[in-house]
């Protein structure tokens, strides 16, 4: 297994830490050392979304989340779980589900980080499917003692538009039996291939001529969503989209579909004893969350829409004692909350404010 090198501007301050999940899957984990060499900072584990990678937090062309966390006195740890485009699994033929991520990747990365940081606080910032899997790990009680969790885009109650539901859950079924995956990089597809039609479809009505942008922004993988507000990206980021977002595996569709249709994060492998540690339904088990929770979403999220607002409403109604809050970032979509040119100004401030609050309120674990 080869892990694609992280694209960053931190020089030798990036420490790669070998991590192999207990099911034998090799993952990527790295720590960005603070410039001042301090070793007493709270650690922040950062989780990317499906088909993205830790690269989305270290964009050298903008002020990225890692910069901001370092300047705010934290020690960032970046995990590449098995859905990362720095890893080869999305393009391979060995299926995984989000159960694997929730059962192996996240808890084992957390325990490895814990071993390294000792009794320092550990906080988590998670994006999209990374946040969804984290919610399942948390509901299973596999990651206890987190000092604070930030979940962007979606968490326990995924919700899409009806257009996306129809196209992803049922239209996607036609593709699932024909395609193993859908690449984001047009260069991998070429003009004539079985994926060409998808690129043709996503180009309809697009303002941007870049096919890699079209498949993410104009009509994400042909399912009718949009992953970011086009004007929010730096030109350099826009030109690197194919590098930042890789191939989406089609075998993940059944799990995603079952979760979204129920508007609840659920375990997929019902009859498999290996996954017994995971609850059937994460929302029913959310009462055991003791971690302060910040749910974040762009006001113009055209993929998960107001899932996180819904999550806050459901959680605060069912578990009134839970510390859960919701922040909506005006004008932002989904991915641009992290890779946007101005994410530091508009988004990361909310994250750091919340982490600071958790840091001062919490006790070392």
């Amino acid at each position: 297994m080869t892990l694609r090198p992280l694209h960053h501007a931190y020089g030798d301050r990036v420490e790669d830490i070998p991590l192999t999940a207990s099911d034998g899957t090799e993952l990527g984990l790295c720590r960005i050392a603070p410039e001042d060499g301090s070793a007493d900072r709270p650690a922040v584990l950062v989780l990317h979304g499906l088909t993205a990678s830790a690269d989305m937090f270290t964009l050298p062309e903008t002020r990225n989340l890692t910069d901001v966390l370092l300047d705010a006195g934290y020690e960032p740890w970046l995990l590449d779980w098995r859905g990362s485009c720095r890893l080869p699994y999305n393009e391979g033929r060995v299926r995984y589900t989000f159960d694997d991520v929730a059962l192996y990747d996240i808890p084992e990365a957390v325990s490895l980080v814990r071993k390294r940081i000792g009794n320092r606080q550990l906080l988590v910032v998670a994006h999209c499917i990374g946040a969804m899997c984290l919610s399942l790990s948390m509901a299973a009680g596999l990651v206890p003692g987190l000092a604070g969790v930030v979940a962007q885009g979606v968490f326990l109650t995924p919700k899409m538009s009806w257009k996306t539901r129809a196209r992803l859950h049922f239209g996607g079924e036609l593709l699932r039996s024909r395609l193993v995956n859908i690449p984001t990089d047009f260069k991998k597809v070429g003009m004539w291939s079985k994926h060409s039609l998808i690129f043709a479809e996503v180009s309809l009505g697009a303002e941007c001529k870049d096919p890699n942008c079209q498949i993410l922004q104009n009509d994400s993988w042909g399912v009718g969503g949009s992953l970011f507000v086009h004007d929010h990206l730096d030109d350099a980021t826009h030109d690197r989209l194919a590098y930042l977002y890789g191939t989406v595996p089609m075998w993940i569709l059944p799990h995603l579909r079952s979760i979204e249709l129920a508007h609840t994060v659920m375990r997929y492998n019902d009859a498999d004893g290996r996954y017994d540690a995971l609850p059937k339904n994460a929302l029913d088990n959310a009462g055991k969350f003791e971690t302060p929770l910040l749910l974040l979403s762009g006001s113009d999220n055209r993929f998960w829409y107001d899932s996180n607002q819904l999550c806050r409403e459901v959680l605060s109604r069912r578990y009134p004692e839970m510390d859960v809050r919701y922040v909506e970032v005006p004008g932002y979509g989904h991915l641009d909350t992290f890779i946007g040119r101005n994410a530091a100004l508009d988004v990361f401030g909310h994250i750091v404010d919340f982490l600071d609050e958790c840091r001062s309120a919490g006790t070392p674990v």
Binding site: K159, H169, R178, M266, S299, E313, D346, D353
Partner: protein, 832 residues
């Protein structure tokens, strides 16, 4: 800085009042302005030291003024200032300070007038107060009205230019040609340096002097003192000076300036020191829901300053440093008050921009971007409002605000002729943020939206130039960063709202409105407000009652759509969002906030229902876990107050009766009750395939005043009995504050569903028949779609589970591969 009396050449401190006041009073024997000017001219000569040159505008000396005035007026002025101090936290204004400038609010003004009348026996009208709120002027007005002697005293507010010999203007040794020897340390040739603008007497229609016009003319003359400068270099700015960042538009613009490039922004904020200025900016940004995080702080410098003071109230070193450091100036700061007169607004709105122009022309030439307003066209009957069309005639503007914005543009046009690159940005009404809903409580559009929603009538306006603050600030920031766009006029008025569109939007939201002639609308509004005051609309009512502000309002109602061709081209070129109508969807969040704050009003269950229908159910309940042995009937009336309520909150109001002998032998009254349609988007209550469809929650009161709660759920399941599912309610009932004691199932009889819930829909009879049909259709469409979605969800999940069993591409590819291998092997066998 030279103090009052040292450099004034004209006296405009006397008898200044709005034109219409002059016309109304027409009192004979008033001092003519020319006389006053001549007298002041002599007095200025006596005052000795000559006027300075340059632009550092004016300082005041209250004591000198008070001493020069007759004791009566002087004492009263001091008395007024002392009483005004009660309303101003921590500061005591002098007799020459405009009380609004000192921080007095309109509401405070009303109270202060009452205090003045009670404690000083000084009675001044509110209009007079707004026209010029300097204590000395108030005292003079009172004296005039009372027939007491009013002294003609030199106006210590010294509006003519003056320059400090040690000022940074001098220190900066501006290489650009300057008209005046500003750098001279000794005041040479004071006489010839005096601007000596010939005293112009401008007469109002009644033949009396129009003091505002005189003041404006002398203010315009100040622009001639500006140095000549080179054009600003067309480079993208890296360090921008911003004024007005604590205001509504300014706070949004600050963030957009930070977003659109990597520039650092220096904010000038009125405060005692830099720390206080930063706190004030932080509070303002938070109040407008703009971030003030460490990420913002690292790119913003906040300096204490005061636009109304010479050299912006900055020290000489700081002025010089700014002149060298900054490479662009954005002026958003303005005193926005439609009731105050020109004298009260000119310091901030005219002399402020002038000082900024001077700063822009000092040292390295910098572009100046000035936020003006389409108020410069507020002349009743104006035909065109294009970006380069001539602005209104100044003698046909009435409101002090309009005049001050006009004068600011006029002085900056003059500055353009001196070489300064001046961009004039003219928004119209600035509406609420389309995403956050943060609105400006002092914008006229806020009051109008509030009044429309409360009283359900709209004035017949021609077009309303209204754009949301987020679009305006985004475009403004883009202009600041595009050197090729500088030096032009831009209208940021968005897509004008028209009357039919507004009426239609309100109709679709179920908040139907009537249309009235704007004068009738105004009279009706004032009458209703008098009968039942709404404090949040006070400012609008005050505008509608003020003769001068009414002119502004009339121009707003009858004005044409502002042209914005250049802005549209610019927006297109930069791929910025094109101006869109600020319609129902865009203003939804702002409207909700206005309703929360009491400005606007959403229809409530207490109002006559927009639409209602009956729902009858019958079934059985029994103690929890036991047989359902008791009949339970519900006769409910379901109603909605507006379509907004159901679409946004998915809520239906419930009234009616519940009859169940286990609760009481007599039917119980539904005190309050609500139904939620697809609560929480149908998220299952517990793990499984059931999705909630409708949730009922009621408070019941029996005849003996016993109180009960009732909770009911209609649930969707994967099955073929959809018709039954839509009619079945599982109920639990308990005493108030206690857990459930009864449970059961009630059902809407199939026969009563259509007659009650479709044919039996009753719509507000006050609506026209077309509006009634629309109401019924909109409701039924929305409700059936929601129920359809709710019923479909469990079945879709079941269908998806079956689809999961299909083989995917990996399985198929494996088969294909095996097939290929087998074929190859057969072929090989055959070849052998």
């Amino acid at each position: 800085m030279p103090e009052a009396g040292s450099g004034t050449s004209r006296n405009r401190g006397v008898g200044r009042r709005p034109e219409e006041e002059v016309i109304e009073r027409r009192r004979p024997g008033r001092a003519q302005a020319s006389d006053l000017l001549a007298r002041f001219g002599r007095s200025a000569e006596r005052a000795g030291p000559a006027p300075d040159t340059g632009l550092a505008a004016t300082s005041r000396d209250a004591e000198a003024a008070a001493a020069a005035a007759p004791p009566g007026v002087g004492e009263v002025a001091v008395g007024i200032a002392a009483r005004a101090a009660r309303f101003l936290a921590g500061s005591t204004p002098d007799a020459e300070t405009d009380l609004f400038d000192a921080g007095l609010s309109s509401v405070d003004a009303v109270e202060l007038l009452a205090v003045m009348a009670r404690e000083l026996d000084v009675r001044v009208s509110l209009d007079d107060f707004f026209a010029d709120a300097r204590p000395r002027r108030l005292a003079q007005r009172w004296a005039e009205a009372a027939g007491l002697p009013t002294a003609v005293v030199p106006d210590s507010s010294a509006e003519t230019p003056s320059a400090d010999a040690s000022s940074p203007t001098a220190a900066s040794a501006n290489p650009a040609p300057v008209v005046v020897p500003a750098a001279s340390a000794a005041p040479p040739a004071t006489g010839q340096a005096s601007p000596a603008i010939a005293p112009v007497v401008v007469r109002g229609s009644a033949g009396t002097a129009d003091e505002d016009l005189e003041t404006i003319l002398s203010d315009l003359a100040l622009a001639d003192r500006l140095p000549f400068s080179r054009q600003a270099e067309p480079v993208v700015p890296r360090r921008i000076l911003l004024t007005g960042a604590t205001g509504y538009l300014g706070s949004h613009l600050l963030l957009d300036l930070l977003r659109q490039a990597d520039a650092h922004v220096v904010c000038l904020v009125r405060a005692a020191d830099d720390d206080a200025a930063e706190r004030r900016l932080a509070d303002a940004l938070r109040s407008f829901e703009q971030p003030w995080s460490s990420e913002v702080r690292r790119r913003v410098t906040v300096l204490a300053a005061d636009l109304r003071r010479p050299h912006l109230g900055l020290s000489g070193e700081r002025w010089a440093a700014l002149a060298q450091e900054i490479d662009s100036i954005v002026n958003v700061a303005a005193a926005v008050d439609f009731l105050r007169g020109y004298p009260s607004l000119r310091q901030t709105n005219v002399l402020g921009p002038l000082a900024l122009a001077e700063l822009a022309m000092t040292g390295r030439p910098k572009p100046l971007h000035h936020v003006s307003s389409v108020a410069v066209f507020n002349e009743v009957g104006i035909e065109k409002m294009g970006e380069d069309d001539p602005v209104a005639h100044i003698d046909r503007l009435f409101a002090g605000y309009d005049k001050s914005k006009w004068a600011a543009e006029a002085v900056l046009r003059r500055a353009r002729e001196h070489g300064l690159s001046v961009t004039i940005l003219r928004p119209g009404a600035i509406a609420g943020h389309t995403r956050t809903g943060v609105y400006n409580p002092r914008d006229l559009s806020t009051g109008l939206i509030g009044a429309f929603s409360r009283y359900r009538t709209v004035p017949a306006f021609r077009s309303m130039n209204l754009a949301p603050v987020d679009w305006i600030s985004k475009v403004m920031a883009a202009v600041v960063f595009d050197p090729s766009a500088w030096g032009q006029n831009y209208h940021l008025t968005g897509r004008a709202e028209t009357l039919p569109e507004l009426v239609n939007d309100m109709k679709l939201a179920g908040m139907n409105v009537g249309v009235a002639d704007w004068r009738d609308w105004r009279d009706d509004l004032i009458q209703r407000h008098t009968a039942e005051p709404v404090p949040e609309l006070d400012f609008l009512i005050r505008i509608l009652r003020s003769p001068t502000a009414m002119k502004l309002f009339e121009a707003l109602m009858l004005g044409p759509e502002a042209g914005m061709e250049r802005t549209e081209r610019f927006v297109h070129r930069h791929r910025l969002p094109m101006p869109e109508r600020y319609g129902a969807q865009a203003q939804l969040k702002a409207f909700e906030r206005m309703a929360e704050n009491g400005v606007a009003r959403l229809p409530s269950p207490e109002d006559a229902p927009y639409l209602s229908f009956r729902e009858r159910t019958k079934g059985h309940v029994g103690p929890i876990g036991e047989d359902r042995d008791t009949r339970c009937r519900m006769a409910l009336t379901l109603s909605i107050a507006s379509m907004y309520q159901v679409v946004r909150h998915r809520r239906i109001d419930v009234r009616g009766e519940v009859a169940c002998e286990r609760l009481h032998r007599e039917p119980l009254r539904v005190e309050t009750g609500e139904i939620w349609v697809r609560p929480d988007e149908g998220v299952p209550l517990r793990h499984g395939g059931d999705h909630p469809l409708l949730r009922y929650r009621m408070v019941l009161v029996d005849r003996d005043h016993g109180r009960w709660w009732l909770e009911g759920w209609k649930t969707a399941r994967a099955g073929r009995d959809f018709w039954k599912q839509t009619r079945t309610i599982e109920v639990t009932i308990g005493r108030e504050g206690e857990p459930a004691s009864l449970a059961g199932v009630v059902r809407v009889p199939g026969k009563s569903f259509v007659p009650d819930q479709i044919d039996g829909i009753r719509v507000d009879p006050r609506l026209s028949s077309q509006e009634q049909r629309l109401a019924k259709l909109t409701w039924l469409s929305w409700f059936f779609v929601q129920v359809g979605i709710g019923l479909a969800e469990p079945s879709l999940r079941m269908a998806a589970e079956l689809l999961d069993l299909r083989r995917d591409a990996i399985d198929r590819d494996k088969d294909r591969l095996q097939h290929k291998i087998r074929k190859l092997m057969i072929k090989r066998e055959q070849t052998r």
